[in-house]
Symmetry: C2
Subunit: 144 residues, 2 copies
């Protein structure tokens, strides 16, 4: 809420570059071969929220509604998600995950941990502590 320091500007500039590069690597080194990072993110959101409409998901993932329609269609085709009409508003659709999705999320968590263990070997304990603190802040930033 106060003025940005010169350090802040430099840091966020660095942040910008790092986030772009890191996202490219994450996109490439995906944990589960058959699922795009965004599809994965949608499943994670559904794991947090239980169920949601495509519009809500689009807003949460910062994607346009038509894109979310495609993503949900993909997930449904893969049997990971399940669409049913909204009880009160028949325009809307309620998306929720299947048991297969839960199994997939659990399995993928195992794989991801293996990959993370390997990646985190290059960081010191202090650096990991920094990231642990930074994660929620980045989350907040992404939703601002």
């Amino acid at each position: 809420m106060s003025e940005l320091s010169e350090d802040d500007r430099a840091a966020v500039s660095e942040l910008r570059g790092a986030v772009m590069r890191l996202s490219r690597r994450l996109r490439h080194q995906r944990v589960d071969e058959s699922l795009s990072p965004t599809e994965m993110a949608v499943l994670a959101t559904l794991a947090r929220c239980g169920s949601a409409t495509p519009g809500e998901l689009a807003r949460k993932e910062h994607v346009q509604p038509p894109s979310m329609t495609r993503i949900v269609a993909m997930l449904e085709a893969k049997g990971l998600v399940h669409r049913e009409p909204h009880p009160e508003d028949r325009r809307q659709v309620v998306v929720s995950r299947t048991e297969q999705a839960d199994a997939m999320l659990a399995e993928s968590r195992v794989k991801r941990n293996a990959w993370l263990a390997q990646l985190a070997e290059g960081l010191t304990d202090e650096e990991r502590a920094v990231l642990r603190e930074a994660a929620p802040v980045l989350e907040k930033l992404a939703h601002l």
Copy 2:
């Protein structure tokens, strides 16, 4: 170095989601309309290093060489970069930025600061401090 704690796993999982969403927003809310984030990043790298070959740039940006060829071609077409034969190895090409690129970088820094000021209003001083610390770590992570 040491074993990953449960907190670490949760944090990096959160990190993954945040980085993906944030990168999407960065890609969209670009500071300079006519330049993609990656082109911007290449110019920034050239600002740090002075000049480099396409191969070096590709490695630094974690992009395949053909992609870098396209990016450099774009930048050259826009008059922001300038290719000349390597003095000793005639296979290689040396890429360096033009005065126009320097002007553009300066101008874009102003715009970016305005955008950042607005974005950072939603964060507390503590959160900004966390990000300031986290930026170099993410940079390191991106290059691991």
